[in-house]
């Protein structure tokens, strides 16, 4: 067996891990005018977490992809620098004798997320657990949804949260993973049948109904409930994941076309039926119509983008608060991209998008190299999920698509989002590890 030094990973992690304390220091100097070591504590903690994760992978001779961890570390680093710079009372944790501000809480969740990632990347030796129990996973997903529906509570009109004593979780973030696992297992099994479709309506070919139906039913339930929970962003994301995986499994553009037609029709119906959909679309089309009311948040976000310009206002020098309130409400979750683009400019925005693209395209590479259909589809679903989520929320920030309340993976504040995103990276690492092992065994 070859040695697994993971030199590429280390080589890429080092500059990332130097930049995070540097970013903290620059922010602190900009805000307070003096350099102090104390405020760097969180940055050092962040560096330590990623170094530890790297060392654990080395110790277990992990053969998984070496670009994912540095890319995720850089994304998370940009997020941490910004979260540390925002008012710390926006969010936080108190309990167990601790009283943590927002950035410290986020760091805690990075720790939990990295542990989850390592456990999966190392512990998941084969895919049986995921593959063979797909209906159990579907049941888990439905349970999560029903639980949210019954005992969930609302924040800003969307019922997304379940209160578990000391922490609240967003089941939707984990449901996303369950959905991907189920779809991968189901599509891997039925994709030959789905591909040999011979039903045609006009120029559109329709998959054979008996094979398609269970998936469609599950999907309808998910969509219906996502709409019922008033979580349009998650609904849109799930739909995108579904179409993407269907496309890769069957190679049929017509399925995607049908899906898009359904989506347009469904959006139109939703627009006509639901007041909140209507108002959100109207705000999207013309936020400046009511810049102090319904359009307040998006308009303020566009102003922040404009202030950023090409080079940004500099770390710590953005206009985060105004008149005792936040310039952009929910800047730490929905608009973290805007905050980064304000202080680091369009160049910073490119960097962030580029890092996200690295994660997505490494994920797709893992899919392309995977040795079986299930692994390939799983990797596709995971990368598409991370990619689409990034595109939907950043597109919402830039008024490209209507604004939704989903998080920017690894960057936005939020424990569920961070942990779920790391679980997804863990799965990708595990797939690529098995691919590498398989290649070794196949080699003469």
């Amino acid at each position: 067996m070859r040695l697994a030094w993971r030199g590429v990973e280390l080589g890429l992690l080092l500059p990332v891990l130097l930049l995070v304390p540097l970013g903290f220091a620059i922010t602190h100097i900009a805000l307070s005018g003096a350099f102090e070591v104390g405020p760097l504590g969180l940055a050092v903690g962040y560096v330590a977490l990623f170094v530890a994760a790297h060392l654990v992978l080395v110790a277990f001779r992990h053969r998984g992809d070496q670009l994912l961890l540095p890319a995720v570390g850089a994304l998370g680093g940009m997020g941490m620098i910004m979260l540390n710079r925002l008012p710390q009372d926006l969010a936080g944790t108190s309990g167990f004798g601790l009283d943590l501000g927002m950035a410290a809480t986020q760091l805690l969740w990075f720790g939990v997320g990295l542990v989850a990632m390592l456990a999966i990347a190392i512990g998941l030796r084969d895919d049986g657990l995921l593959r063979h129990y797909k209906y159990s996973w579907a049941a888990v997903g439905i349970f999560l949804l029903v639980a949210t529906l019954l005992i969930g509570y609302e924040v800003n009109g969307a019922r997304l949260w379940i209160d578990l004593g000391p922490v609240s979780i967003q089941p939707g973030e984990f449901l996303k993973i369950v959905l991907v696992v189920f779809l991968a297992a189901y599509l891997a099994e039925t994709r030959t049948l789905l591909t040999s479709a011979r039903m045609r309506i006009g120029f559109l070919s329709i998959p054979p109904l008996p094979y398609f139906l269970p998936m469609l039913v599950l999907f309808a339930i998910v969509m219906l409930m996502a709409v019922r929970l008033n979580d349009l962003g998650t609904a849109l994301l799930f739909f995108g994941i579904f179409l993407t995986m269907l496309f890769v499994a069957t190679g049929r553009r017509s399925y995607v076309l049908i899906g898009l037609i359904l989506f347009v029709a469904g959006s139109f119906v939703a627009y006509e039926l639901f007041g909140h959909v209507q108002s959100r679309v109207n705000v999207w089309l013309d936020p400046f119509a009511d810049p102090l009311g319904a359009g307040f948040q998006p308009v303020r976000a566009l102003y922040a983008l404009g202030r950023g310009g090409v080079f940004g206002e500099g770390l710590g020098q953005g206009l985060v608060t105004l008149g005792g309130g936040l310039t952009i409400p929910f800047v730490h979750t929905d608009f973290i991209f805007t905050a980064i683009a304000e202080e680091l400019g369009v160049l910073g925005a490119f960097a962030l998008l580029g890092l996200a693209a690295v994660v997505v395209f490494r994920g797709l590479r893992i899919a392309a190299l995977a040795r079986d259909d299930f692994s390939a589809l799983l990797a596709v679903g995971l990368s598409a999920s991370l990619g689409l989520q990034t595109l939907i929320i950043i597109g919402g920030n830039t008024k490209l698509v209507p604004l939704t309340g989903i998080t920017l993976p690894f960057v936005s504040y939020g424990g569920s989002s961070v942990v779920a995103s790391f679980i997804m990276v863990g799965l990708l690492l595990s797939i690529s590890h098995r691919t590498a092992i398989g290649a070794d065994e196949a080699a003469p």
Binding site: P291, L292, G306, R307, T327, L353, F361, A367
Partner: protein, 514 residues
């Protein structure tokens, strides 16, 4: 085969990342200059938070609004709640309204045509010099008018018919703008209370409130009828005396007279019709004018479109007054002759602002010329000592009026309005608008009351428009419109306020002029 599909997916995702990156470039690079130029941009707000702001004085040099910089933040203090709806507020938390908004660049001393970029750049180098404003309003008349409303929901608008100079502009109820403009942390609570107050204290009723006018609109109908030549001051309608009791059937709908209070119907001319406020007479006039021409005159008088007080570049907005159902912000066509006949006596689909009705009164008082109203008199160098500087930088004056109807028409309507207040029949309805009741002996006032029926159980709006002095051969110096929401009859509530405000002004200006 999956690998091929993955590559295709990769291509599409690459495209999507490209599009999203382009959208960031769009806002951060291409649109950034135009975003920076918008007045509600927080960058601009933030920059102005710390700038000293000019003082606003009344016409006699008394301080109405002043600023001081506390802990690096500019805080505004307002001395007189009667002016809140004219001046507005300059809040660190809620932005600006009223004159504070329209004249913001002057108040903070940044009058560059493209102020925003300059402002942000220049703050670093030099402090802009604030400028002071003097209003056309004498605080004494403003306070007097506000006292007359006594906190009831309503508005008083008074102006000089010759120049358009606003003499008083009160919307009630008012509120304490200092509470919103002071400490930003303490501003939210009073703002929430104001927003939730059912009497809508944040609404400038004088400019932005729309109300059914009732009989005060007959002044407009009379002017339009005379000017179009469809009536003369001597015109009578033979069926009118009978219809006063039986009703006037238009297109199968019966128009009824209001309660004449026991006055026996006669064959009335314009003067009597204005005195007793005959709905039947004016329905006839309106039908003679016809739908098209009625709308045409309405537009000439300034109805049917949004307008401004002051220059369009620094506007205090006035909502469009309407005589029909609106279509795209303009008066739509009349649905039928019933709507036209009803509009002729101020019912139907008519809805007007107090400012617009004050302008109607001013147009009659001004021999048929509608003045362009303005409320800021001049800009001066900043003064810290509580009295205006002598260094006047810019003076705003009348921009000239617009002829709406002939002088002959205006004088005939004026004569009718004089009768409505002083005539034998008129005294019974609009007599409370007579300035001789309030200590003026040498002059006479003209006017018209309105009792706007709202349907259902709602008490009618009480209206009065008028001007003084109105006797022959004298140029009126004040035209006024008074609205009291659900104040009952025009004669009971609005007319005495109108009469008192006019009398007070004549006393004040008489004293001032020696």
């Amino acid at each position: 085969m999956i690998a091929t599909n993955v590559r295709r997916l990769g291509f599409y995702l690459m495209l999507a990342f490209g599009v999203v990156s382009a959208s960031a470039v769009w806002w951060q690079v291409l649109e950034a200059p135009s975003l920076a130029a918008r007045p509600d941009n927080p960058e601009v707000l933030a920059a102005r938070r710390s700038l000293p702001r000019g003082t606003i004085f009344d016409a006699t040099g008394q301080v109405l609004a002043s600023s001081e910089v506390v802990d690096g933040l500019s805080r505004r203090t307002y001395t007189d709640q009667a002016f809140t709806h004219v001046i507005g507020y300059a809040s660190l938390r809620f932005g600006t309204t009223g004159i504070e908004r329209a004249y913001e660049d002057i108040l903070v001393g940044q009058t560059d045509p493209n102020p925003i970029r300059d402002l942000v750049d220049e703050i670093l180098d030099r402090e802009p010099e604030p400028r002071d404003l003097t209003l056309t309003i004498d605080r004494r008349l403003q306070d007097f008018a506000a006292d007359q409303l006594g906190g009831d929901r309503g508005a008083v608008v008074a102006l000089d018919p010759s120049s358009g100079r606003i003499l008083a502009m009160v919307s009630s109820p008012s509120y304490d703008a200092t509470a919103i403009s002071g400490d930003p942390a303490a501003a939210q609570e009073p703002m929430d209370a104001l927003r939730n107050d059912p009497s809508e204290p944040l609404l400038p009723r004088d400019r932005l409130g729309l109300y059914v006018p009732g009989s005060i609109l007959k002044v407009f109908t009379a002017a339009a009828g005379l000017d179009a030549g469809v009536i003369t001051p001597e015109t009578t309608f033979p069926d009118q005396p009978r219809q006063e009791t039986e009703g006037f059937v238009v297109d199968g709908f019966t128009i009824l007279e209001h309660d004449l209070g026991g006055i026996a119907p006669g064959l009335w001319r314009l003067s009597e019709a204005l005195q007793v406020s005959s709905n039947i007479f004016f329905a006839h006039v309106g039908l003679e004018i016809g739908q098209e021409r009625f709308l045409d005159y309405a537009r000439r008088f300034g109805f049917c479109s949004d307008s401004v007080i002051g220059s369009p570049a620094r506007p205090l907005a006035v909502r469009a007054s309407l005589v029909t159902q609106p279509v795209d912000g303009d008066c739509g066509p009349f649905a039928d002759d019933v709507e036209l006949a009803s509009a002729s006596f101020g019912q139907g689909s008519t809805q007007v602002t107090p400012v617009q009705m004050a302008l109607v009164a001013a147009t009659i008082a001004g021999d048929g010329v509608a003045p362009a109203p303005y409320v800021v008199h001049d800009v001066r160098a900043h003064s810290d000592d509580g009295s205006p500087s002598d260094e006047v930088l810019e003076t705003f004056s009348s921009t000239g009026g617009t002829r709406v109807v002939s002088a002959e028409t205006a004088r005939a309507v004026r004569s009718g309005m004089l009768d409505a207040v002083n005539g034998e029949l008129g005294r019974l309805f609009a007599g409370q608008g007579d300035i001789t009741l309030y200590g003026i002996t040498n002059d006479r006032s003209a006017g018209k009351t309105g009792t706007a029926q709202l349907g259902g159980e709602q008490a009618p709006h009480s209206w009065f428009i008028g001007f003084a002095p109105a006797q022959d051969g004298v140029t009126p110096t004040i035209a006024v419109a008074v609205l009291v929401e659900s104040g009952g009859s025009g004669s009971g509530r609005a007319a005495p306020i109108g009469g008192q405000v006019m009398a007070e002004w004549l006393r004040m200006s008489g004293a001032a002029g020696g």
